[in-house]
Symmetry: C2
Subunit: 287 residues, 2 copies
């Protein structure tokens, strides 16, 4: 979820955060950091470009090592730093601000909450597992029956989050997975109301293009959990939150059906294959 104001503020999901090997890992915060810094590996879509894997390779020596979550050597520094600062008493939003500054992002990076919020998925035949166990360890190739956000009910928005939503010129829901990337943000008490209050200035970009997710399991998850994996399904989910939905040109024929759900529909190229396409989409969203 991105809020464009005097500057840009990203309000980021922490439900994917995982503690591994004693380290606090915040994949969504890091992916945004590395992407905005131009340091992300463009092929993988996560981690740093030019990364080395010496620590992970050495970890393979230990038979009982949990080595399913790949941590690059330079990426490890971010986890070491975050973990150290959290243990010294800093909040996740304080550490995120320090990391954003260190990478000279020129924007504000806010975890939606400083409290513990964990996305948990009930998987057929297995019971409940954590998000990274689902996403990375099982390559999201399992049937999900339900999703919950453990800790959300007793969490509070991180400082500046509600102010950022209130003050933004435009509130943008990025083309992320609605069920595991956007919903955990909205599950923090006060967040959904704050987004609804800005509905008229709210714009979402559909993560579903021509009935499929560009990457990840959003389409499959939507179907498994009783939604329609289409721009119309997205329109139904987001109609209470935003006044406008941007859909890809590939879905132009569904514009009427989207508007029937009660939102304005904008058709534009939404596939961000590079910075030029990303900038063009941002201009559509801000227009």
């Amino acid at each position: 979820m991105q809020v464009a104001g005097p500057g840009l503020t990203a309000i980021v999901n922490v439900g994917d955060d995982v503690e591994l090997h004693g380290l606090h890992i915040s994949p969504d915060l890091d992916t945004i950091t590395y992407t905005v810094a131009g340091a992300i590996d463009p092929e993988r879509g996560w981690g740093l470009s030019g990364e080395t894997w010496h620590a992970m390779e050495a970890l393979a020596r230990y038979p009982q090592a949990r080595a399913w979550f790949n941590l690059g050597d330079r990426d490890l520094a971010t986890h070491l730093y975050r973990t150290d600062r959290l243990r010294a008493g800093a909040t996740l939003s304080e550490v995120s601000a320090e990391i954003a500054e260190a990478w000279e992002l020129g924007m504000r990076l806010l975890p939606v909450t400083d409290d513990r919020l964990q996305t948990r998925l009930t998987v057929t035949g297995e019971g409940e597992i954590g998000f990274q166990e689902y996403f990375v360890q099982r390559h999201h190739e399992v049937v999900v029956e339900s999703i919950r956000f453990d800790g959300a009910d007793v969490s509070a928005p991180a400082p500046l989050v509600l102010d950022a939503l209130a003050d933004a010129r435009r509130v943008v829901i990025a083309p992320s997975n609605p069920l595991v990337s956007i919903d955990p943000v909205l599950a923090v008490p006060g967040l959904r109301d704050a987004v609804v209050a800005r509905r008229v200035d709210g714009v979402a970009v559909s993560p579903i293009v021509a009935g499929a997710a560009l990457k990840g399991p959003a389409d499959r998850l939507l179907r498994e959990l009783g939604h329609e994996a289409s721009v119309v399904g997205i329109a139904r989910l987001y109609a209470p939150l935003v006044a406008t939905l941007v859909i890809d040109e590939a879905d132009a024929q569904h514009a009427g059906a989207v508007e029937a759900e009660g939102l304005r529909c904008v058709v534009a190229p939404t596939i961000m294959t590079g910075p030029v396409e990303a900038r063009a989409l941002a201009e559509v969203v801000l227009a």
Copy 2:
């Protein structure tokens, strides 16, 4: 402290252990592992040979990072593994056995205790600091007024430690720093008595050669804490524990003074410049 039995068992100091960046680091256990495995960097005397430092270099990006304790990329794997296993409920001795097996050490590696035992030093003008803060961060270039082993009084010997001492053919006190490497081992309840009980089969190798430590601050620490930085000073410290002290040929003229302290004195080359010298010294110690 090494106990040669049917096989070889090392009973290892854990007072230097430190938690950094959320990782449990056991420098003495790791140095023995890497040394016995032939993987240690011979120049530095710690860490792995052929190591890379990408994580540490990347950590320097973060201004508030505590980067004074160098962690090589491959070495990090050992800390990640140990931390993960400890958090999963394994004891330090269980993890140490797993690490020894993974490195095919062909010997037993026992932390003296599975409990928390921390070497703390009172430094002039600063107050009390941890061992690594003293040794690495301040390069042991400060005046030490006293040393204590926090937690030792309520610690218990790890499984097999007392049995190893009771069953060994010979009990060897390695040429380590008596005050910060051997004393914390002896501070665990039951350890000193178990060593004293085997005094007749006990051999120590003097860490002081010609009035100086081969490396590290042993000589300075001995003087600061009221001991003599000489083989005679070592003899006084170890006379209650072992029947024999091996001193270097450079100290041959002190053999009589050593024996006057109540131990048998063996003069031999004790400087282990390589595996050949180390093996020769081991043969002297076992003879």
